[in-house]
Amino acid sequence: MREREHILVFHFDENLVNRLHNKRVVVITSDFEKVHHICKLVNDRHNSLHCLVIHHKGSLASIPFNENWRGIPMAIFANEMGPFKEMMAKLQLMRSLSTRIFLSSANKANFTNLHILASLGIDCGISFDENNIDWEAMNDLMTYAVYSKVNHASVEPFQFVTQAYEPSRFTEFSSVYFDNPQTYLHIDKDENIALNSKDLKQGNFIAKGLDVLPGIYGNEKFVESLHAWQSFFLKENGCAYCQAWRICLGKFSESYDKNPGCRQFFIDLMEGADHFRALQHKNKRKELWQP
């Protein structure tokens, strides 16, 4: 594996940002007022803002989108869309921003809302609430996102899976949510390092201190995490026996017994990924020399 320096993901903490230098970072906040402050602070320390993540407990319509956010890479996680009329008033501005809107699967209406957002040209995605997923609605949204020939913006994680899918390797779509430890590491203000957001929340740390980051590829727990997928192959039943394992990697194993719809959904998504891949091959234009 190529040893790339990880992108650090953390909840905004001024002291922590001040201790970082020449890092690529994903900063999480819920305060829209701090957008510019965070960007300035990150840049002042010669860090590079990979993405600013905003968790908003309200509706998309209630977000105070701002022209000054242009050029800032942002991911906004909201609970719902809110009044359509209010959102439409901000549509032109939203389209001009480098923003992806995520809506939660916990609200069933959000599947339709994401359909609408994508059709309006707003890049968007579903954020999974493992205990609340309507897999049929998810499948409908995926079918639209992957197969529809009408122009529309991207819907994640379907866009990522269809583009990254390669039969000879696993497709790890948790990158869409900054949770793939091969690219991202999560860190708290005390410099505890975790493999993903869940582990950070639960206190499952793999190391502590910014100074250990250069040697993280030799960290025993990090190395173990690279092979964590194999634990599914040590069970008698379960996700390893699913044909779509290679694009889901058992992410919904804990809820499978109660809600087994993930299996058919990911089988259909993989079919979509195959379809997209075949199209790419078919449409591949001849390559001419360039002057």
Partner: protein, 375 residues
């Protein structure tokens, strides 16, 4: 290229349900003196045949139980006793990978091994150490083994042995195996039961055909998605690409190409023939490898092709796929090498019931309207 199925040890750290070797109560291991003698013989053989190459397939038991020093010694012996011919010796190894470590890998690299063959079983308590066959312990170690191989860019492929316990869930097993091995290849082989089927694992040819038939539509439809899975790929290549790519048991050409050498130097036709003590070519302590490779008993395997083509397999359109099957299977069933095996029926059934209807490929496409091979 001549193939030596080389079994320097019968010891094994696993108690696989379908293995013939583990039942031996006093498994033997080859001495260094004999190992040295074999390398001298290989050198003599290759000097006598300047165009020939030898593939030495390390088998067991579990060959890694020999220890790192044993392999190191073998590499040194090859350097010492085969200085002019060593570039014509190719090593391969079959291992269960549970004892693999970096030192082994370093030695294997020195021996030119860049691929390791193994086998795997997801169903619990089929493979593993002890009377209860602790498959969790076994598979955990196996996973560590494949991680090491992949870290070191050493290829691996495996055989899955289809037993009665697998018949209820062919697609589950296929998905599991193809998830574990996204690239490269694996093979679905029927279990071979010699003697009494104490574990009740044996399957009929029809059951094997139906097992393959349950998987084949998925593999065929999405074959760009899956690794090379045999026998599917072999049948496809044979029919569509006119490649003769059958396994050793179906080539009809094993007569002078294979030899088995066991831990005491005993020589036989191949691993199965040695394990089942079906045919003996004497002992390499008493005969040279050149003599063993020319043993007159081998001629019966050549003659078998003529006998079958004139009799039981006459006009069979599937001759090229099986050549009457493995002569050893014939011997087990009939106490004679001169019959086709009942495995042929399984292959024929799979091709007729599943392969041809699903692929739309026809035998006529290969042989013409009369469906016969032009011999």
């Amino acid at each position: 290229m001549a193939t030596i199925i080389f079994k320097p040890t019968e010891k094994c750290n696993s108690n696989c349900i379908y293995c013939d070797v583990v039942v031996k109560k006093q498994p033997k291991t080859m001495s260094f003196e004999l190992l040295e003698h074999i390398f001298k013989n290989i050198d003599e053989y290759l000097k006598a045949k300047p165009q020939e190459r030898i593939q030495l397939v390390w088998h067991g038991g579990e060959p890694l139980l020999l220890g790192e020093d044993y392999f190191l010694k073998a590499a040194e012996m090859q350097d010492k006793y085969c200085p002019e011919t060593k570039h014509r010796i190719q090593h391969a190894i079959q291992s269960n990978l549970t004892l693999l470590n970096q030192n082994f890998i370093n030695i294997f690299r020195r021996m030119g091994i860049d691929q390791i063959g193994t086998s795997f079983e997801p169903i619990a308590n089929m493979r593993g150490p002890g009377a209860k066959r602790d498959s969790l312990a076994y598979n955990t170690q196996f996973m560590k083994g494949i991680n090491l191989l992949e870290q070191n860019n050493i290829g691996w492929g495996f055989i899955y042995v289809v037993t009665k316990k697998a018949l209820a869930r062919p697609l589950d097993i296929f998905f599991y195996l193809s998830n574990l091995k996204l690239t490269g290849s694996f093979m679905l082989n029927p279990v071979l039961v010699y003697g009494e089927d104490k574990e009740n694992i044996g399957i009929t040819s029809e059951e094997y055909a139906d097992f393959l038939g349950a998987i084949f539509p998925q593999w065929w439809k999405y074959r760009d998605r899956y690794p090379i899975v045999n026998p599917f790929k072999m049948f496809t290549e044979n029919l569509v690409e006119n490649k003769l790519t059958t396994g050793c048991e179906d080539t009809g050409m094993c007569a002078y190409g294979h030899v088995y050498i066991g831990p005491s130097g005993e020589a036989s036709q191949c691993g199965r023939a040695g394990d089942w003590e079906i045919i003996s070519y004497g002992n390499i302590n008493e005969r040279s490898l050149i003599d063993i490779m020319q043993d007159e008993q081998r001629e019966q395997f050549i003659k078998r092709n003529d006998v079958l083509l004139a009799g039981e397999c006459k006009d069979c359109p599937f001759w090229e796929f099986c050549h009457g099957g493995c002569p050893l299977d014939s011997f087990i069933q009939t106490k004679s090498f001169m019959h086709r095996t009942n495995r042929c029926e399984g292959k024929k059934l799979f091709l007729e019931k599943y392969f041809f209807p699903i692929t739309g490929i026809r035998l006529e496409d290969k042989y013409g309207k009369d469906n016969k091979k032009n011999n």
